[in-house]
């Protein structure tokens, strides 16, 4: 078999595998649903994520040993990942081939010229790694993370913004798959939706569409993972190169070159993605993949000036401290940023979250959503709970998000820990926040309408929402008795809307006897009220007596001792626009400084 066909098969296999992993990241009991499929494998092979995590947290989860493997293979063989495995690269190559394949040779060669702008990706890599390294720098300099220096130097993991693995998972999980699933409902009974999916999907499509202009645009100019592989692979033992200076300079190799690494002249091994097209295309048979440098010469440097590198590093190192001047991690924290159960304290969370969207994909209620700017610029596309989207709040007996998170930004907690049972009874349940009733919008509080859907649905025992029963005079509800017997009161005039007060929630009380408990109205005409037959008046009201119509209200009150912030109440609240009961991150377990109670 020709080597390029092997490459194509490998690429299609890994693309299909990737899509399969996204598809099966679905909670359920069917054979194909989440049950040990290594759905995060592509992230685990990602040395950019691993290095970012190391810089940000000084530790790498064991699963990321795959990435060490990828590094070793790259050092030996070059950027095989980019050309043979990366599903994003496969898409780029496919679109680039579709749009350039039939163009004249000279145009293809021109499109595949090396451009100085290809250094941008190294700058982005340096920027992202410097942004992640803040915490490590503080620790090295002072021996502890919590020194005064941390006010000036801080870091957070932002590689996921551009890392092709995170980008691909995010785009497929949050934009492409939900779109496909809307038509088929294969993985979800209810169509799934994600806030800001337009931007996520739009950027993805833009990245793919740029291949029409220059093939593998993203790989050549943007991809920080490709840049890291370039840095690692430029001294690789095996590499592409010419075996003889004798060459007709037909440029066939460059017309098919995916990496724009100029194999016809002085090849740039850091740019070579091992597509092997040049090997196939060379009519003179002078290009080979072997453990010797190209006879035509090599440019192993990265085309990155020292000044450029310093600027990238410095702006990366400054970016996070500058963003934190907004105090989003301090006094100005956003109470609407509700992290999933088991999420780490915010600074630690930002040091780990790759923005891959796996938690959002697996969440059975679709309530975990990609943040916009709720968590500041550092928190873009990190998970936050939005109780207006989805089928319910955070389900009491579900811990799926933490178990799918590849970096334990959301810890893989047990149900016992989430619910504060057994060994966790002393710690109590994990609270995502606290529900607050908006007295200006709640139907029983603001508009004298019975409701308490929130109380009904509160899933904890004892319920965190309890009710206070009150009897409130209805509007224009004072009337004069014309005639009455034990169970009926005739008002003598058509002053009532028929059957309005018969819902079981309306009561009547004679003013002469305000201490007497109100009697329930069971029926009314425009002038007549019929009362609950269980409690007849001992002596009927006399004509001229005043009676007051009351509505019985059960007004919801939140007991913060029991509220876990699951948001089921907010989701179910019938006041749809701005919910009348809303969760804010007050009293959330993960940030002790948000503690509400003594």
């Amino acid at each position: 078999m020709k080597i390029v066909n092997s490459r194509r098969i490998s690429q299609l296999f890994f693309l299909a595998l990737f899509l399969w992993f996204c598809f099966v990241t679905t909670l359920g009991t069917a054979w194909w649903q989440l049950r040990g499929w290594p759905v995060n494998w592509f992230i685990y092979t990602d040395p950019l994520a691993a290095l970012g995590l190391f810089l940000a947290t000084r530790a790498i989860p064991a699963t990321f040993l795959w990435a060490i493997g990828a590094v070793v293979l790259t050092v030996v063989f070059g950027r095989f990942f980019c050309g043979w495995i990366c599903p994003f690269g496969t898409l780029h190559q496919l679109v680039g081939w579709l749009s350039h394949g039939r163009r004249p040779l000279i145009e293809k060669v021109k499109a595949n010229d090396y451009r100085h702008a290809q250094r941008i990706k190294y700058g982005l890599l340096a920027f992202l790694l410097a942004a992640a390294a803040g915490g490590l720098v503080v620790e090295f300099a002072t021996g502890t993370r919590f020194s005064g220096l941390s006010r000036v130097v801080a870091g957070s993991l932002q590689t996921g913004l551009l890392d092709p693995m995170a980008l691909m998972y995010r785009s497929v999980n949050l934009a492409l798959l939900p779109l496909a699933d809307r038509a088929t409902l294969a993985t979800s009974l209810v169509p799934r939706g994600y806030a800001g999916a337009g931007l996520i999907g739009g950027l993805f499509l833009l990245a793919v569409a740029l291949n029409v202009w220059i093939p593998r645009f993203y790989c050549r100019f943007v991809c920080p993972l490709g840049a890291l592989y370039g840095v690692l692979g430029r001294w690789s033992l095996w590499r592409i190169g010419k075996t003889s200076p004798q060459c007709s300079m037909c440029m066939e190799c460059e017309s098919h070159c995916e990496g724009a690494c100029e194999p016809s002249t002085k090849i740039r091994p850091a740019e070579c993605v091992l597509c092997m097209n040049c090997l196939r295309a060379c009519d003179d048979g002078v290009i080979a993949y072997r453990n010797a440098a190209s006879v035509g010469g090599e440019i192993t440097g990265l085309d990155l000036t020292r000044r450029g590198l310093l600027v990238s590093l410095a702006s990366g190192a400054l970016a996070v401290p500058m963003l934190r001047l907004g105090s989003l991690l301090g006094a100005n924290w956003n109470p609407r940023l509700i992290r999933p159960p088991g999420a780490l304290p915010e600074p630690d969370f930002l040091n780990r979250c790759l923005k891959c969207g796996q938690c959002m994909r697996v969440c059975p209620t679709n309530v975990i959503q990609p943040a916009g700017l709720e968590g500041g610029a550092e928190g873009v596309w990190t998970p936050t709970l939005n109780f207006r989207i989805g089928t319910s709040g955070c389900q009491l007996n579900c811990v799926a998000c933490g178990h799918v998170c590849p970096t334990a930004a959301i810890r893989p907690i047990t149900l016992d820990e989430k619910l504060g049972r057994n060994g966790f009874a002393d710690a109590g349940p994990i609270r995502l926040g606290t529900a607050f009733v908006d007295h200006g919008r709640c139907l029983p509080w603001a508009m004298d309408r019975p409701c308490i859907v929130c109380q009904e649905n509160c899933p904890v025992s004892p319920k965190a929402i309890f009710v206070r029963e009150t009897f409130i005079p209805v509007r224009d509800g004072m009337h004069t008795v014309s005639h009455a017997d034990e169970l009926t009161i005739d008002l003598g005039a058509p002053v009532l809307a028929p059957q309005t007060f018969s819902t079981g929630d309306y009561y009547c009380r004679p003013l002469s006897d305000p201490d007497d408990s109100p009697r329930r109205i069971v029926a009314n005409t425009d002038s007549m009220i019929t009362l609950d037959s269980n409690r007849p008046f001992a002596s009927p009201l006399r004509p001229g007596a005043r009676v007051e119509l009351l509505v019985r209200l059960q007004r919801p009150v939140v007991d913060p001792r029991y509220c876990i912030g699951c948001g089921v109440c907010e989701h179910e609240c019938p006041v749809m626009g701005v919910k009348a009961i809303r969760i804010t991150a007050e009293n959330e377990t993960r940030n002790p400084e948000h503690k509400l109670l003594l």
Binding site: P364, L396, N397, C451, S461, K463
Partner: protein, 333 residues
């Protein structure tokens, strides 16, 4: 052509005619298109109410007013004893019947918490229906929590499927608008209709639970799970909506499970301490009567529950269950 040279506008006759024809065609086509897509009804009201879906009565003639109250801790046993007093399941299910079991699967909680229909009861009912010759048994509900999680965590999906029933977890397309004749709230409201396609018998299966807003959640409140859309707004008139549901749904049979009664913190419960072992199975053809008795398990009276009074007034059943001469048997163990 010479014409062109003499024509100061530089256009030949032929070209003029071609252009004029193109222009005329464009005008004609757009004019016709505008006429064609014009909204002829712009001054009409949006849309008249469609007749929509309606539930037939599933009551088997001649079985009106049956009620059996069986005490005992074992659900399968009390259910069988209750049905035995009525001549067996064959009284209600004939060979070839297609049965829908409307369970209460509202919450994603384990069966031990009794917030949902118990899987033992579901599986026994499915078995009895199939034994009586039912061609098909469908188990469905439109839950409050995540639907898939509800059916699985409650154990209902597994129990029903193992017993040979088909579980339908509702999708958007399963709902159709319904209007209750004489109803005020259920007007053009989406109801769970598609699982009822071809169904000839309906059995409601519900636990006895405390419910702060309505007083109790039992057989009648169980029909709430047939409503779709923004059904939460009906909580403003909870007794009215339950009464309308009682008017709309005439089941073949209701099974009201008071084996464990949720005395407080309902309808979700969440703790075993919310339950009381009342060890009673209520089976009957009058859901109002079943609820009226069920209320006593909660220590409440039917008269305390306005939705029962309303349902009686609406002719949906009787609250005075003693008038039905309920058969009372005790099974032990």
């Amino acid at each position: 052509m010479n014409d062109t040279a003499q024509n100061p506008s530089g256009i030949s006759r032929r070209e003029f005619l071609v252009r004029a024809a193109k222009a005329a065609t464009t005008i004609a086509v757009s004019g016709y298109a505008a006429h064609w897509i014009r909204n002829r009804d712009e001054h009409q009201p949006a849309r008249a109410e469609e007749p929509g879906f309606s539930f037939p009565s599933f009551l088997v003639p001649g079985t009106e007013g049956r009620l059996s109250i069986i005490t005992g801790p074992n659900r399968r046993r009390t259910l069988n004893a209750a049905l035995a007093t009525m001549g067996g399941m064959g009284t209600f299910i004939q060979p070839g019947d297609r049965v829908l079991l409307k369970v209460n699967a509202a919450f994603a909680l384990p069966p031990s918490l009794s917030a949902t229909s118990h899987p033992d009861l579901v599986s026994e009912l499915v078995r009895l229906c199939l034994d009586a010759g039912a061609a098909r048994v469908v188990v469905t509900d439109y839950p409050i929590n995540d639907a898939t999680a509800c059916f699985h965590l409650t154990g209902i999906a597994r129990a029903a499927e193992q017993a040979g029933a088909q579980v339908v977890i509702p999708r958007e397309a399963d709902f159709r608008p319904a209007t209750l004749a004489g109803g005020r709230l259920i007007r053009n409201w989406p109801v769970l209709a598609r699982p009822f396609d071809g169904i000839t018998k309906l059995i409601g299966v519900a636990p006895v639970k405390d419910h702060n807003r309505s007083g109790a959640s039992m057989a009648l409140k169980n029909w709430y799970g047939l409503l779709g859309g923004r059904r939460n707004i009906f909580h403003q008139e909870i007794h009215e909506i339950i009464c309308e549901l009682a008017m709309m749904i005439r089941p073949t049979l209701v099974v009201l499970d008071g084996t464990e009664t949720m005395m407080r913190n309902g309808p979700t419960g969440g703790s075993l301490s919310d339950l009381k072992p009342t060890h009673t199975m209520i089976v009957g053809t009058d859901p109002v009567a079943a609820d009226a008795f069920g209320a006593t398990l909660l220590g409440r009276k039917a008269a305390d529950l306005p939705f029962i009074t309303k349902a009686v007034v609406a002719g949906a059943g009787t609250a005075n269950f003693e008038l039905l001469n309920p058969i009372r048997i005790s099974t032990n163990g």
